[in-house]
């Protein structure tokens, strides 16, 4: 393997790796990441920030649940341990419903429903139960509703970032995205992405690639174009990226063949962009694991 070949982890892979225990993930995901050297395992800032946003949402809802179900009831301090346990058990048993209620009532459109955020929020709650029984109301209020909360959150996330940094390189070459030169190949890539989004919409799909996904795609292209990496394997858990990649490649082929650019003005840029994009490989994590076993 050449030195400049790297594996980039999509946000969904970060989740599978860091929360493998909670999600009952195949340990092979972790083994695969462990098998990479620090230089080979790369995470873009954008993905890390996306990952942290998910934790942030989940932790905020956990706080809201505790605030509404425990802190708003003034008698928490007066309850005996058995009664406290009963309250906690009630919340735990109905956590999914409580989560949805709070989300619909207060965070409509601000936080996505169910999914990973809900699973994390419930885990945070369960793991905090011991502290909820131990602490007095005053201390809890500081941690859950007042200024201690942000410190707690920063502490938690810095623990996680530390784990990630031990295994992987966190890449921030954001200046690549703000290059003042007009890069004609980039124009073609954006055209390809727009085409992909139009196709999805005309086929009736509502879920189109997020702005972040589009930036990540262009980012990977620029990393290859700038020869910062010779080959990039982007590891993900769904086929959004692969389809985007294919549509862009097809768009470039149309230009090269003269179907989309009759005068051939952009042919040479399309050829270059096509050569570069062929060094990008989009892989599902399960394929990689299967491949490794062979």
């Amino acid at each position: 393997m050449s030195q400049n070949e790297a594996f980039f982890l999509d946000t969904n892979i970060l989740i599978k790796w860091i929360y493998r225990g909670i999600l009952n993930e195949n340990p092979a995901v972790e083994d695969f990441i462990d098998s990479l050297s620090k230089g080979q395992c790369v995470i873009l800032h954008i993905n890390l920030s996306e990952f942290e946003t998910i934790i942030y949402d989940a932790y905020n809802i956990t706080s809201h649940v505790i605030y509404e179900k425990i802190l708003s009831k003034q008698d928490w301090d007066k309850l005996g341990v058995e009664d406290k346990l009963r309250v906690l058990e009630d919340i735990r048993k109905n956590f999914e419903q409580i989560y949805e209620q709070i989300l619909t009532k207060y965070y409509n459109g601000q936080i996505l429903p169910r999914g990973i955020r809900q699973i994390l929020a419930k885990t945070f709650f369960i793991e905090l139960e011991g502290k909820l029984i131990d602490s007095n109301l005053e201390a809890l209020r500081n941690h859950i509703a007042l200024n201690q909360r942000t410190d707690d959150l920063i502490d938690y996330i810095s623990g996680i970032e530390n784990t990630i940094r031990k295994n992987c390189t966190i890449l921030n070459n954001i200046n690549l995205l703000f290059n003042d030169d007009i890069i004609k190949e980039n124009q073609l890539i954006y055209e390809g992405i727009s085409k992909y989004i139009r196709n999805l919409k005309s086929e009736g799909y509502n879920k189109t690639p997020s702005r972040n996904d589009q930036i990540i795609f262009v980012y990977l292209f620029l990393l290859l174009r700038g020869r910062i990496y010779d080959k990039i394997v982007f590891i993900t858990d769904d086929n959004d990226f692969e389809r985007m990649h294919n549509t862009v490649l097809n768009h470039l082929k149309d230009i090269i063949n003269g179907n989309a650019d009759l005068r051939g003005d952009f042919k040479e840029y399309a050829i270059e962009a096509n050569d570069i994009l062929r060094k990008l490989v989009i892989k599902g994590i399960n394929d990689l694991i299967a491949q490794q076993k062979r």
């Binding site: 225990g21 890390l48 946003t53 509404e68 007042l146 938690y156």
Partner: protein, 236 residues
């Protein structure tokens, strides 16, 4: 409370009083500031808000064009203002001015912090995203202030416009306004900015990157981290 709080945020960009010395054309500058404030008071806020929405979800191309045009107009006006400021101050004075405004902003935010949390949580619409954002913003501004405080100004007496370190202070001014907007939106309209999670993710990431983990026994964050990620891994 809300009125108290919007003051330090909104006054951040005002002309320094300390500049009333020597040949400094403070009357001109003040006239200009008044004009700009009147011209853009409402508008500037709208544009910031629009920029925040667009940068995170720039799908609306027409809106983007209008905003860019507006922003361009404002930029020209402010550039004139800035160039007057940068031509008539030394970098030492300029830095002093930014630092003083930052101090006032931090003190104002800090003073209102607990009150803000209580007001939000006791309202009909308690929302933890905005309270967390408030404290992330406060920590961010404080971190920036502490960093800038260490800036070594070797030649405090050269004109601001000729100084290379003015850029970092310019960016600070921009970021303070930019990230402060969701709080102003909340105070003025009682609305939570729809992309607040994404912005918080960015602030959080910036704050974490700046920090070396230091376990404290009081921290629920470390408690959670060790329970979920350390203990379970060791026993696997």
């Amino acid at each position: 409370m809300s009125a108290d709080l919007s003051l330090p945020l909104e006054e951040y960009y005002k002309v320094p009083n300390e500049m009333k010395n020597r040949n400094f054309p403070v009357h001109l500058l003040e006239k200009m500031r008044d004009y700009l404030v009147k011209q853009y008071e409402e508008n500037l806020f709208e544009i910031y808000e629009g920029m925040l929405m667009l940068i995170l979800n720039p799908e609306d191309e027409d809106k983007l064009k209008i905003l860019l045009k507006e922003a361009e107009k404002i930029k020209e006006d402010f550039e004139l203002y800035n160039s007057m400021l940068e031509n008539n101050t030394t970098i030492g004075e300029y830095v002093n001015m930014v630092m003083k405004e930052l101090q006032k902003l931090i003190d104002g935010l800090k003073k209102n912090e607990e009150e803000f949390y209580k007001e939000v949580l006791n309202s009909d619409n308690p929302n933890f995203l905005i309270t967390t954002y408030y404290s992330l913003y406060l920590r961010f501004v404080t971190t920036v202030y502490l960093k800038l405080h260490k800036t070594n100004i070797t030649k405090p007496n050269i004109k601001t416009k000729d100084s290379r370190i003015k850029d970092i202070f310019n960016i600070t001014n921009f970021l303070v306004g930019f990230f402060g907007t969701p709080i102003l939106i909340y105070i003025k309209k009682k609305e939570v900015f729809p992309y607040i999670s994404e912005l918080s993710g960015a602030l959080l990431h910036a704050l974490v990157a700046d920090r070396t983990p230091m376990p404290s026994k009081d921290s629920l964050g470390y408690y959670l981290f060790s329970k979920i990620h350390v203990v379970k891994n060791e026993s696997k």
